[in-house]
């Protein structure tokens, strides 16, 4: 034991540089937008440009517009950043383009939603009011509001929500919403539990929801 403290200092110095560097927003490869094809984005992503619109690799323009709307409903920008800021629909387009096994399920699901919207409200999903869109999703999302003959829609919603969660909570924005502790790359020691004298954790301070106070449910 005793170790080599210079080595450790050296390691920590290098690490904190790396940590600082990774906070530079230019490193966020998922800020990619624009005509750059996917094959080229690893390591060489162009910076996000607000003037160039993302060109979907798999979805049609109409499908992609629905996808954007749906992901923003699932993870809204409600005072804290949501799917839109985190580029979730771009992520989903990329993953679906890379995965022949799920392409049909996404295409069929988006088609189902449009057809069902027309049947219910006489217009495609994108042309419904926010209230109507919300109502449609609530019947697919909450067990108490399930309706018969919407099984395909529910299956699609599950799939879509899974991919939205995958996209959002692996983005830097999403991980920051969770205060994901691994965004910090160096801890001097494993901090462990801070609640001395309360092993059963029965007397913790009440939780605060300052940043996530907005509710959209009834």
């Amino acid at each position: 034991m005793g170790g080599q403290s210079t080595d450790r200092r050296e390691v920590l110095r290098a690490l904190s540089l790396a940590a600082a560097a990774s906070q530079f927003s230019g490193f966020d490869r998922w800020a990619f937008a624009s005509a750059k094809p996917h094959a080229g984005h690893a390591g060489s992503a162009p910076a996000k440009s607000s003037t160039t619109r993302y060109q979907p690799q798999f979805f049609s323009a109409e499908e992609y517009a629905s996808l954007e709307r749906l992901t923003e409903m699932i993870i809204p920008s409600d005072g804290t950043p949501g799917a839109k800021e985190a580029g979730v629909s771009e992520f989903i387009d990329f993953m679906v383009a890379s995965d022949p096994e799920i392409q049909y399920r996404f295409r069929y699901g988006l088609g189902w939603l449009d057809t069902h919207a027309r049947w219910l409200f006489g217009a495609g999903f994108r042309d419904l009011s926010e209230k109507q869109q919300n109502e449609m999703l609530e019947h697919l999302a909450y067990a108490q509001r399930y309706r018969p003959r919407e099984e395909d829609g529910r299956a699609f919603f599950r799939l879509l929500r899974e991919y939205a969660v995958m996209g959002y909570y692996t983005s830097r924005i999403g991980l920051e919403q969770l205060d994901y502790p691994g965004l910090q790359l160096v801890y001097d020691e494993m901090p462990g539990c801070p609640h001395q004298g309360d092993p059963e954790h029965k007397h913790l301070p009440p939780p605060k929801y300052k940043s996530l106070a907005v509710r959209n449910d009834a």
């Binding site: 890379s98 502790p181 092993p199």
Partner: protein, 564 residues
Amino acid sequence: MPNTLYDVIVVGTGAGGGMAMKTLCEAGLKVCALNSGKRLDPVKDFKTHAQRYELTYRGFMDPKTRSRRHVCERETTQGIWEHDITFTVAPGSRWKWSRCQAVGGKSNFWGRSSARFGDIDFKAASLDGFDVDWPITEAEIGPYYSRVERMIGVASTVQNRPSNPDGEYLPPIKFRCLDHIFQQAANKLGILYLPDRCAQLTVPHNGHPACHYCGGCSSGCDSGSFFSPTWFTIPAAEKTGNLELRTDAHVKEVLVDEDGKAKGVSYIDRKTGQEVAVLAKAVVLAASCCETAKIMLNSKSRHWPTGIANSSGQLGRNLSDHLYGTPAYGYLPQLLGQPSRPDTVHESTVTWMPRWQNLANPREEKFIRGYSVYTNGGCKEFPSFHFQIEGFGSRFKRDIKRYYPTPFSFLIQAPSLPSKNNYIEIDPEVKDIFGIPVARFHFQWGSNELLMWEHCKQVCAELVKAAGGELWGAGDDPSAPGTSLHETGPCRFGNDPKKFVTNGFSQCHDVPNLFVCDASIFPFATDKTSTISIMAFTLRTCEYMVELFRRGSIDERKRRSKFE
């Protein structure tokens, strides 16, 4: 150089191979080590600090590789796992076989749980009447464990447990909130909930810096703060100047002389496709449990028509593995909405419930032997519990955050008992891309380990209740065999040459200059993991080899008593 006669060839560079190289080279022997894949530079090649948003597929990996991924393959480590050399699984059997090609092997990315085996494992057959005792005692192997622990650094506490010999430990990794909660609950059920033995440096050790808790262990450590051959044993062997390490060398067979003793190894140079022979006075196989058995079974000659050193007929038999599964998972309501805590930045097991079954009475339960349980949970990187939460919108987003500190899951580690139905053989028809016959696996879980699984689900459900937790569910089935990477048995050791492939020093009974330094020598998987034991037994075997070299009798079979 093609005609060099080495003292020893070491096949494989993982936990066993690395330790063999170090021990033999430091004793002045000339060693040629063979590794099937390339060598990585941990500082340049390991993506230890890659955040998920920096990865092309965000850590979910290229979907097109879905069907052929290995258990511990990550997006950060793709490209170094064996996909080219195939294997087959017999009808009615299941087996997963993860092999890492890189120098250092799977030990670059291992889970680091490092409990010693003890007399409760070695003398299990005497206690419960099933199968065979091991040719070793706790007193004999203990000093070797101590030396390995001092070398690599293991964090834990002295626990005085009947099922777990204590060792020499660095300060333990601190308990998380969930650990304190479950420890209280486990105490109510009479189960001990303790720090695991974790080969992770909680303080600087032997020139290696302490862990910086970046959470990237399974992508390989960039600072050498937990044991891996890449950071520990291989550099030590290289420092002696006695090591020649050949990469991209896929071993085909052990070559024999006119007496049927080992005279070298033949391998395929994966870069050229050429077959190359290396000669040595002795051969150490440390290719990993099943690969070692496959090489031996493929080493057929006039002397060894069914595979080298297989006069017992036991080569490839007795395959044992850890049944893995999730006996319970859920969340702790106490922690709902609490601030995020660094619960997983160590990326290790931290705590476990070491075997508590069949201790006082070896036949107390419906099953014999015993299993251990590890706890996972807390603020993980990805909120994979999202399936448990209904809805969408701001409420969904808030719930994900609210539940983020609360989830937990247990992992059972239950040894399968050796069975005549579980074994490796050579596939009579299928050959790999180099024309080498492939391994064929026969394996199914048996009733003893399935009884442990059922028992564990019940106990864990009670534990969750006692902890005030809510159960989301349990795994329906245990994982596929091979998932744990803890397989043992196909070259198991014992004193009777008619019943065992290797003797108490892991030396082949039939071929005195052929040694086995991986988990294939262990008679069964026990409730503990095998890496530190591979190292302790390898250290002992290789010091025995050094002694034989010193006496000039490396190719003579020695009675064990003469050495002691």
